[in-house]
C-alpha cells in the first residue's frame, strides 16, 4: 500500500513536471510578447517597403524608422484593452505605420499605403491593375478581391475593386 501511495504522489508530481516541459504561460503583461520571450527581429528575405531612401520592415524597431524618416505628420497611441504598452500609429504622407510594444521597444506591426504617391519596392501602387500585381509578384489565387503574398515574416496584402488595387498593406505573416 505504501508503494501505491508513493506511486500516486510520484504520478501527481510527474504531471506537474511534465507540464513544465510545455509552453510558457500566456502573457499577463503584454499580448505582443513572443512565447519564449525572445525578441523578434527583421527577416532579410521578407517584403520591405522602400520610401525616401530607407527600408521599413515588419518587426523592425520603430526607433530606427523614426530616425530615418523623421517625425510623422500625425501620431496616435492606443492602449490595448487591459494590457500594458501602447499600440502606436504614425501617419506620414502616403503611408501609415503601426507598431506594437515588445518590451522597451516598439516594433513595426503594419505598413499601410494610403495613396499613389508611394509604391511597393516592386513598383505596385494604389491604382495599379490586378495584372500589374500578378506580373510583379507572380501568379496566385485572387480570393474575395484579395491577393496575398508571404515571404518570411511578412504578408503583402492587395485589396482590389474592379480589377484595380484599392489598398496595399504589409502585415505580419
Amino acid at each position: 500500500m505504501r508503494k501505491s501511495c508513493i506511486a500516486f504522489a510520484a504520478a501527481a508530481l510527474a504531471l506537474v513536471l511534465a507540464a513544465c516541459a510545455g509552453p510558457d504561460a500566456p502573457a499577463t503583461t503584454s499580448p505582443a510578447a513572443t512565447p519564449g520571450g525572445t525578441p523578434l527581429s527583421p527577416y532579410p528575405e521578407a517584403y520591405v517597403f522602400q520610401v525616401r531612401g530607407t527600408e521599413v520592415a515588419i518587426d523592425q524597431d520603430m526607433a530606427e524608422v523614426l530616425e530615418a524618416l523623421g517625425e510623422a505628420n500625425s501620431y496616435f497611441e492606443a492602449a490595448s484593452c487591459a494590457f500594458d504598452g501602447l499600440d502606436k500609429t504614425y501617419t506620414y504622407s502616403g503611408f501609415v505605420i503601426t507598431t506594437r510594444p515588445d518590451g522597451d521597444r516598439d516594433l513595426v506591426n503594419s505598413i499601410l499605403l494610403t495613396d499613389d504617391s508611394v509604391a511597393t519596392a516592386e513598383g505596385i501602387y494604389i491604382g495599379s491593375s490586378q495584372a500589374d500585381v500578378l506580373a510583379a509578384y507572380g501568379d496566385t489565387e485572387v480570393a474575395y478581391n484579395v491577393i496575398q503574398y508571404t515571404l518570411d515574416n511578412t504578408t503583402l496584402n492587395f485589396i482590389l475593386e474592379g480589377g484595380t488595387v484599392l489598398s496595399i498593406e504589409y502585415i505580419p505573416a
Partner: protein, 359 residues
Amino acid sequence: MIRMKETKRTRSLITFFLSALIVLLTLWLLQRLLVPKYAADVVEGALVAEYYQEENKDFDVIFVGDCEVYENFSPVTLWEEYGIHSYIRGSAQQYIWQSYYLLEDTLRYHTPQVVIFNVQSMQFSQAQNEAYNRMTLEGMEWSGSKVKSILASMTEEEQFLDYVFPILRYHTRWSELTGDDVRYLFQSRPVSHNGYYMRVDVKPAENVPGGQILADYSFGERAWDYLERMVQLCQAHDIQLILIKAPSLYPYWYPEWEAQIEDFARERDLPYLNFLELTEETGIDYSTDTYDAGLHMNLSGAEKLSDYMGKILREEYGVPDRRGDPQLDRIWADNLAAYEAEQQAQYECYGMTPQQEGG
C-alpha cells in the same frame, strides 16, 4: 488473525487516502499560488469572477460586452440617479460567443428585465489571443456555459485540460510571483464597481486614425449566429434586449458595419443606440470625457452615458426604481462608499480635481 489483517488493510486504505489528499491539497495550493491574481496589474482579468461575490444578484439590467461596456457605463450612477439595480458582465476583448455564454451563465442566477449588448465584438469570428480568452473564461464559475464558452473560444494552441487545471498552463509563473500572489492566495481584491472599471484621468481624443479599406465589411457567420442566439435567449426569458454601440472612437466603427446592425435591429424589432451619433444628447466631450484619447470614457464620460441610458431604461422600458428596498439600500450605500473612495484616491494619484475631469 483475520481481524488483524482487516485492521491492517483499513490502516493502509486510510494512509492511501490521506496521502492522496495531501498530494491533491498541495497541487491545489500550488495552483492557487501560480494563477494570475489580476489584483494590481491587468485588473480587468478579475472582472468576470467578481460577479459571483454579489450578495443580491437580482439585477434588473445586465450589460454584456467588451471594454466598451465595462469602461463606459457606471452602475453606481444608474442607482444614484434612477434606483436601477444593474451589473456589467464584461471583460477585455470579450468575444460575442463569450458574451452569449456569460449571459447564459447569468440566467442561472436571475432573470434581468433588460440586457444591453455592445456590438463592437461583431467584428470577430475567431478568438485572437489566449491571454484575452483566459481573462474572460477563468473567472467563470464551472457550468455547462463555461465549458461551451471554453470550447467556442480556444485558439489552436490551447488545450481544454489547461482550463480545468490552470497549473498546467501557469507553472512557468514561478519566476514572476509577487507579494500579491501570496496576499490574494485565497481572497481576491475588488477591482470594479458592479463590473465598472473606473478611470478619472483625462487624455483628449486627437489624431484618431480613420478606418482602413477592408476587403470584406460583412460580419462573420459565427458572429451573426451568436447574436441570433442572444436574441432567442432573451426572447425565451422575456428579456428586453437593447443593442448599443458605445461612443469609443477607436477601433474604427465602419459605416458598413453600422448599416448591418441597423438592418438586423430593424428586422428583429430591437432597439439600437449608436452613441457615436448621440454625443450631443449625452453631452460627451472628447476633450474631457476620455482617459485614453477616445477609446474609453473616463468617470465623467461614463456617468454622462449612464445618466442618458438610465433615463431611457426608466421612461421607455419601465425599469423600476428599487430605492427603498432595505437590503439594496444597504448594498448600494457600501458600493457608493467604495466608488467615492476610489474616485478620491485616483484624483490624488493623478494630482487632479473633479473640475479637471469633464464632470
